[in-house]
């Protein structure tokens, strides 16, 4: 192929018009379908699903809209507590609890986003961080509801009765596929959004905000909507984590969890569809494998991270794409 047609292919992939891009959700679903057998154990595969979704939600805001948030733990945590409280405190079933988690995360995202989108760059990062800390303290203090520093225990969803079948979530494989269902639906939604006219506009805003505004787009509205969708996706990841762990640790809301989304996205490749998922898988694998032989696994994870930031700024998946399309 001539270089121009290569550039063309790359561009079609970017615009979401080539065959592979149009089938990216199916490809992801098929791969994730066999993924547990590629992992050392099933619980790790479940973690990759959950944190992969978390990073995908974050990447919608950072990679596609271009706004770096340091407060996404607020949405992950609110989603987890929202779902957990409905199950553990109010004794309601999972199919109410998960939407409740997503909804509460979206509400918190609306409030934080409303305040934060007035700023940009480092100020945006600082404002989101500060507001996420506020959310942390609210949940920390509301001990009767959230369990405070001990976290929320007893988020027990042991089995799920669907018409005709009953799923035993104590079996890791069943739990994996239960969670995978939600993750694939979420990926499908993200994929549709990115390929839609709305998705085109948020990339335009990332590229040049002033021009997007001059084209006739209400930039503030697009930012707020994207912020809320991003928060809702991270909330879903949190809700699934609550069901996975049967508890909600207060650590779901700490700023390290916010940082995790940033690290995973950068490691995998921001602004790409699969990048955040690849980054989450890579990060969790590094953590899992190195933690076996040293308690200072963060030194190794940090070194890998630095190598990528310095030499492969497009991240793992971004570099693969670059190599494929040149």
């Amino acid at each position: 192929m001539r270089p121009l047609s290569l550039a063309l292919t790359a561009q079609r992939a970017r615009d979401g018009t080539d065959a592979l891009t149009r089938r990216r959700v199916l490809i992801a679903a098929l791969f994730l379908g066999v993924f547990p057998w590629l992992m050392p154990y099933k619980a790790l595969a479940i973690n990759v699903l959950i944190y992969g979704l978390y990073a995908v939600g974050f990447n919608l805001l950072y990679g596609y809209l271009g706004m770096l948030s340091f407060g996404h733990a607020a949405f992950f945590g609110t989603g987890a507590y929202g779902c957990g409280i409905v199950v553990a405190r109010w004794g309601k079933p999972w199919f109410l609890a998960i939407p409740a988690g997503v909804f509460s995360a979206a509400v918190v995202a609306l409030a934080i986003g409303y305040l934060a989108i007035r700023t940009r760059g480092i100020y945006f990062a600082m404002v989101t961080l500060a507001l996420a800390q506020c959310v942390y303290y609210v949940f920390f203090q509301a001990e009767s509801l959230t369990g405070g520093e001990n976290g929320l225990r007893g988020v027990n969803v042991r089995s799920i009765s669907l018409p005709g079948v009953s799923l035993n979530l104590l079996r890791p494989t069943t739990k994996y596929y239960f969670i995978l269902f939600f993750v694939v639906v979420a990926l499908w939604i993200v994929s549709r959004i990115l390929a839609s006219p709305f998705g085109a506009v948020i990339e335009a805003i990332r590229e040049r905000e002033a021009r997007a505004r001059a084209c006739g787009y209400n930039v503030a509205a697009f930012k707020l909507i994207t912020f809320v969708v991003s928060g809702a996706l991270c909330g879903l990841a949190g809700a699934l984590n609550a069901i996975h762990l049967s508890t909600v640790p207060i650590e779901s809301l700490v700023y390290e969890t916010s940082g995790l989304a940033v690290i995973m996205s950068l490691l995998g490749g921001t602004g790409t569809f699969f990048g955040p998922f690849v980054g989450a898988a890579a990060f969790l694998l590094i953590q899992d494998l190195t933690a076996l032989w040293t308690e200072h696994w963060q030194l190794i994870a940090g070194a890998v991270y630095m190598i990528f930031v310095l030499f492969f700024p497009r991240g793992i998946w971004g570099s693969v794409l670059e190599w494929l399309y040149r």
Partner: protein
């Protein structure tokens, strides 16, 4: 020459702190005309352009577009009113393909808050983008990312993006800044062609360039209008010659 007025500014003043960038500027622009705003550096041309295009709001005064006061409207509404601009500093979406740049601009008036339909489904927008690239002469570059275009081509792309909103009023701020003589000629021909179908207001530093194609000129100096008239009238105006050209013949 009192035709149908499309845009007028009445007593427009823009102050930055204690500095008056514009002082009491009153001008009317006729529909279908090509008017150039000229003046030496620091005359307030760009400030005036930013007021007309909605990037800034005047400190005092009114701006009427088709009879409606638009002075305080947010910038993103201007494209929907029928005003589009190409600013002095090239402003495109560098990582997106050239045709996608124009498609996004065209999309703004057709569909905005659709989260679900694949954008490729709006074939008419892609066709429109391609046709506009044809108009500005860079259709063969459509698939390249905008950052890969030459400077002159990027300016042409910006004009295609401005045209995508089907403006009745097109604002251009120094569209030939930084261009080679060949690029400049191509651009001026393009602008003359565009002006045949719509109202164009051109802000330009180089007076010579706009003499041939403008029906009217407005000369700004130190934020105030010092002359206004046809190219011939401006050519013969002593004040203009003194302050703008340092007394040289042109």
């Amino acid at each position: 020459m009192s035709g149908d007025v499309i845009l007028s500014t009445i007593g427009v003043t823009k102050r930055f702190g204690r500095f008056f960038a514009l002082r009491d500027v009153t001008v009317a622009f006729n529909r279908g005309s090509l008017t150039s705003i000229i003046g030496p550096n620091g005359a307030g041309k760009s400030t005036y352009f930013n007021l007309l295009s909605g990037a800034l709001s005047p400190t005092t005064g009114k701006i009427f577009f088709e009879g409606r006061d638009i002075a305080a409207l947010p910038q993103h509404t201007f494209a929907h009113l029928g005003i589009a601009k190409s600013s002095q500093i090239t402003s495109v979406f560098p990582e997106l393909s050239t045709v996608e740049n124009v498609r996004i601009a065209a999309q703004a008036r057709r569909v905005r808050y659709n989260f679900w339909t694949p954008r490729a489904r709006y074939i008419e927008l892609i066709d429109k983008a391609q046709a506009l690239l044809e108009v500005v002469g860079i259709a063969h570059r459509g698939d390249l990312p905008a950052r890969a275009l030459a400077h002159g081509e990027q300016r042409a792309l910006e004009i295609a993006m401005a045209l995508a909103s089907e403006p009745r009023l097109l604002l251009l701020d120094e569209p030939t800044a930084g261009m080679s003589p060949v690029e400049t000629r191509t651009m001026m021909d393009l602008i003359a062609g565009l002006a045949a179908k719509r109202t164009v207001i051109l802000v330009e530093h180089k007076m010579k360039l706009v003499m041939g194609i403008s029906q009217r000129l407005v000369v700004l100096h130190h934020g105030e209008i010092v002359a206004e008239g046809t190219p011939d009238e401006i050519r013969g105006n002593d004040t203009v010659r003194r302050i703008y050209l340092g007394g040289r013949k042109f």
